[in-house]
């Protein structure tokens, strides 16, 4: 693809029918009311010169370059700030306008370096374009006078530089940081000629409030804010539209390249999930794809104590295939299994589960989503009938009350957080349910109406208390319930939830949240015209994860907040393709589209197509595989792109399990922790090489297009097909789109999906089939997927993991913006500048009790293990709770997390571990290093 530049229509789109007719330079145009003259002109194909306007931001009217003449109007109004009116007659090119514009340009250029030819933005600079457009030929003001030409560059940000000498103070960056990102990290200091762009009082970008989302760089018309990669490599010459592989937001990007090298990733305005916005990970942290530690040759070894031996693809695959068959011959068909990855494409995941079911001949396939969102699958399918978020992201713009439960969107889903913050600045109210005071509780121009700062592990008690208030205070939406839900189930639930044990007063000792706050929050949620729930791993990663998901669904149904725009129950998925990997049938009990393996009709569809008899019984889940491995009945494992030895709880237990395997096959980019237990290493592909689709948290299927050839020489799905073939079950596809065709042919919710349609429409939200050929932005409209919504009782069964005398603190885990999951990718990028190590947050009181000061090294000990971390005193966590992230292997946060898990799905209880924290003079690991 040649370099595609997205058109900039100058000002924002206005929704509505094109009802205002006017004439621009003699051409008739019709646009919606409220559209600017500039945008109307652009739509008619007429470009009015501009500098301070761009269509992602509100018009500002400062540069005076976009002047036009309007018949009957005095003077020369700015077209960006002038709305259209019926019958208007606009001229954009007259001698007077040309003269005025030239004068304006001349002033800009007189204070601008004239080194265009050596400027990194040469060819990609609006100032340059405009100078040409207005026909600037001479600059009458010499550059000898006062100017800003001598000012120093700020290169503190790892990814972009700010060169004040090239800044024209159009304030597009400042506005982008406010309007697009919502961080407000930039300002214009001083005034008049002295006004400059500044990243706050810190004086440089790195130490400022900036979160490095890149919106300002994107908005800057000149080289003043420029990607360092462009400065180093030059402007790109071709681009490929693809999807970020970092989180469940699924942002669309144009990968811009020079030859075979990526120069930059530019968020695409046509991306329906992100609409031109990005975060630091997707925008800048793609360098890992070509990191020197990437393994690109297959390797094998007899024992995990042996050194690795590079071999050909044939040998590696042949070896793996015959070992798998030998093991099955000795220990039985069920003695092997596979784990799929939420980082891989739908197509890659689909072939792995197919290999397990058809070639392995069992259902021992599970996905890493087991450890994050399996309770979502269980809870939402029990109540609504399907396992997916109910809304598209845009829906949040219509919510009046937003309830964020156990999620930290500013860190984990930044681009969605920006959307949410925009809505909150417009006046929507916010309820935050989280033990930790997350950014959203109080951030510039954002303040939660209620922060229900509950004890970790008491989610269900809290949600029951909220529902109790709704029911006992007469806030139930009776019409909705009687029309849309099973009334028998509702009656049982109503009785259960009304009992006193569920009242805010009765649950206060459990949750620690004042009853009055709970009541007020419940009233706020129930009383809103539109109330929406967004939740994350703080809901699912508990021993009552599934119950809590049902509790959220109950609350939404009881208040009628399901089935239209602006409401809903929405899981925020961690990894990029958690939704997709679940959809693709990588649970041991379900085929693609969440259909149980025991369902004969469904099974026959696959048996017919695949030519094998399939097992009608569920297989082993990940934790079951580990337990069975230690027991000795489970002997071989295929692991697709997932570092289970770091990401799974109670790591020591996992390592023991991996160690006891006879064969472990790892398909990944890097020799990760899990690979140290592997016998076969099959190099994988980065997202820049993949060809396929990812499905984001709003069920949106986005295309992932190869930007460069696979560095390992093969697509991952090809490798899986070859392995399957080596085992005697031939699998073969001409290309990835054929795999999607098979998914569509076997999965009713995907029936209408194809690469061709995706390329045409950009993306599709499933269900996409005959009933909804263009996909489904909002689910459960009119009727639930399961017919009628089902209320389920949600008794609070406390976890067995409790604080005790020996382990008096509760450890809870989370994520940070600049790092991703186990950090395998982000740790290999410039992002380490922000998060060089995991730290333990501890409340100052708890720290004082233990003689710990800020920055000390401490030991964290739980029942199952011990690790060392540096600690930070922080009032963000309540007394009695400590918090950390798990992005770095050395900190081994998962050494201490236990094997407790969700009762229904075995999703591990990452969010609650009883621990003790003790001061440590220096970390043992540091001592070892010194020795």
């Amino acid at each position: 693809m040649p370099l595609v530049k997205e058109r900039d229509l100058g000002t924002r789109a206005v929704s509505g029918s094109p009802s205002v007719e006017l004439e621009i330079d003699g051409m008739a145009v019709a646009v919606p009311e409220g559209t600017s003259v500039m945008r109307a002109a652009a739509l008619a194909g007429i470009g009015v010169p501009k500098l301070c306007a761009t269509d992602s931001l509100a018009a500002f009217g400062s540069c005076r370059l976009c002047l036009v003449e309007i018949e009957g109007v005095r003077g020369t109004p700015a077209s960006c700030t002038t709305p259209v009116a019926p019958g208007m007659k606009v001229s954009t090119q007259t001698p007077r306008l040309e003269r005025l514009r030239r004068n304006v340009m001349e002033l800009y250029i007189s204070d601008h370096p004239l080194d265009c030819l050596t400027c990194a933005a040469n060819g990609d600079c609006e100032l340059q374009d405009m100078a040409g457009a207005v026909g600037l030929r001479e600059v009458r003001y010499g550059q000898a006078g006062q100017s800003h030409l001598g000012e120093v560059k700020d290169t503190t940000n790892p990814y972009f530089a700010f060169d004040p000498a090239k800044c024209i103070v159009c304030s597009r960056c400042v506005r982008a940081c406010e309007e697009t990102q919502g961080t407000f990290a930039l300002t214009i200091t001083g005034r008049g000629f002295g006004s400059r762009v500044a990243p706050g009082p810190a004086g440089n970008f790195f130490d400022s409030e900036c979160v490095s989302c890149g919106a300002c760089v994107q908005a800057c018309p000149t080289d003043a804010l420029e990607e360092k990669s462009v400065i180093d490599m030059g402007v790109p010459d071709r681009s490929v539209l693809t999807t970020c592989a970092y989180c469940g937001v699924g942002c669309s990007f144009r990968a811009e390249l020079r030859g075979d090298e990526v120069v930059r990733m530019v968020p695409s305005k046509s991306g329906q999930a992100n609409e031109g916005h990005s975060c630091v990970k997707g925008r800048f942290a793609w360098g890992y794809a070509t990191h020197r530690e990437r393994v690109v040759k297959p390797m094998i070894r007899e024992a995990i104590t042996d050194p690795w031996r590079e071999v050909s693809w044939e040998e590696a695959i042949g070896y793996a295939g015959s070992r798998l068959r030998e093991i099955q011959a000795t220990y039985g068909v069920a003695s092997i299994g596979g784990i799929t990855s939420s980082r891989c494409t739908n197509e890659e995941v689909f072939v792995v589960q197919k290999m397990v079911r058809a070639a392995f001949g069992n259902n021992n396939v599970d996905t890493c989503a087991r450890v994050c969102h399996s309770p979502t699958g269980f809870g939402l399918s029990q109540t609504f009938g399907t396992s997916a978020g109910t809304q598209d992201f845009a829906s949040v713009a219509e919510a009046d009350v937003i309830m964020v439960v156990g999620a930290n969107p500013s860190e984990a889903h930044p681009v969605f957080a920006s959307r949410m913050k925009r809505r909150l600045r417009e006046g929507a109210r916010l309820v935050v349910v989280d033990p930790r005071r997350i950014d959203l509780v109080r951030a510039p121009h954002i303040e939660a109406s209620h922060h229900l700062q509950l004890q970790p592990g008491s989610n269900v008690a809290l949600i029951n208390a909220m529902a109790h208030v709704v029911v006992t205070e007469g806030l139930v939406d009776r019409d909705f319930v009687s029309e849309r839900c099973e009334m028998d189930d509702f009656a049982v639930w109503e009785k259960f939830i009304s009992t006193d044990i569920n009242s805010p007063e009765a649950t206060e000792p459990i949750t620690g949240v004042p009853a009055g706050e709970v009541r007020a929050a419940a009233r706020l949620y129930a009383g809103a015209p539109n109330a929406a729930i967004y939740y994350g791993l703080g809901v699912t990663e508990h021993s009552q994860g599934s119950t809590m998901v049902m509790g959220l669904a109950n609350l939404a149904m009881a208040t009628g907040n399901i089935g239209r725009v602006g409401v809903g129950v929405n899981p925020l998925r961690g990894q990029n393709n958690v939704q997709g990997s679940c959809d693709m049938g990588s649970f041991p009990h379900e085929f693609s589209g969440y259909r149980h393996v025991s369902d004969d009709t469904v099974r026959h569809v696959f048996e017919e197509l695949w030519g094998r008899t399939l097992d009608p019984e569920p297989g082993l889940r990940i934790p079951n595989m580990f337990d069975a491995a230690i027991e000795g009945t489970f002997r071989a494992l295929f692991v697709q792109g997932e570092d289970i030895a770091q990401s799974d709880p109670n790591v020591n237990h996992v390592k023991a399990a991996l160690e006891s395997l006879e064969l472990c096959i790892v398909q990944d980019l890097f020799l990760n922790e899990t690979a140290s237990f592997a016998h076969v290493f099959l190099p994988g592909t980065s997202f820049l090489e993949k060809d396929g689709t990812f499905t984001n948290a709003e069920r949106r299927i986005n295309r992932v297009r190869p930007v460069m050839a696979p560095r390992n020489g093969k697509q991952e799905w090809q490798v899986v097909c070859e392995l399957s073939s080596a085992m005697g079950y031939p699998m073969q596809y001409d290309n990835a789109s054929r795999i999607m065709d098979e998914i569509a042919a076997t999965t009713p919710t995907f029936a209408g999906v194809s690469f061709r349609k995706l390329d045409e429409l950009g993306s599709l939200q499933w269900p996409c089939n005959e009933a909804a050929p263009l996909g489904t932005p909002t689910m459960h409209v009119g009727t639930f997927v399961r017919g009628k919504g089902r209320f389920l009782e949600t008794p609070f069964v406390p976890t067995e993991e409790r604080a005790s005398r020996r382990y008096p603190l509760i450890l809870t885990t989370g994520r940070i913006l600049t790092q991703y999951n186990v950090g395998a990718q982000t740790r290999r990028t410039g992002n380490v500048a922000w998060h060089p190590e995991d730290v333990l947050e501890i409340h100052p009181h708890d720290a004082e009790d233990r003689g710990i000061s800020d920055g000390d090294w401490v030991t964290v000990t739980s029942r199952v293990g011990q690790t060392e971390l540096r600690c930070r005193l922080s009032p963000r966590v309540p007394v009695g709770v400590v918090y950390t992230t798990f992005h770095h292997p050395v900190s081994g946060a998962n050494v201490v997390t236990t094997e407790h898990s969700d009762w229904a799905t075995n999703c591990p209880e990452y969010k609650v571990t009883a621990v003790e924290v003790r001061a440590l003079r220096a970390p043992a690991s540091a001592l070892h290093r010194g020795a």
Binding site: N624, D627, E631, T633, P795, W903, T905
Partner: protein
């Protein structure tokens, strides 16, 4: 060989989460849950050890129901 710890823990936890239905309904819910989500070797191991003293009485009752279900040879899940 006594029943694996993880199976005891998981089974008892499932029972605790259905307890609110009362013992008889809870037992049949637990049985259905095991049938739907547990791999056959895990179920078999549980059924072979229903006399393990650590199991919740509801699990024991569920085990008996499950045994009936299995011998009825029905594959269809609830």
């Amino acid at each position: 060989m006594p029943l694996r710890n993880d199976l005891v823990q998981m089974a008892n936890q499932i029972a605790a989460n259905f307890l609110h239905h009362g013992p008889e309904v809870a037992a049949s819910e637990v049985a259905a849950h095991l049938k739907r989500f547990w791999a056959p070797p895990m179920r078999a191991e549980l059924l072979a050890n229903l006399d393990d003293g650590r199991l919740d009485p509801i699990v024991v009752r569920a085990g008996e129901l499950l045994r009936e279900l299995e011998s009825a040879g029905s594959n269809s899940a609830s």
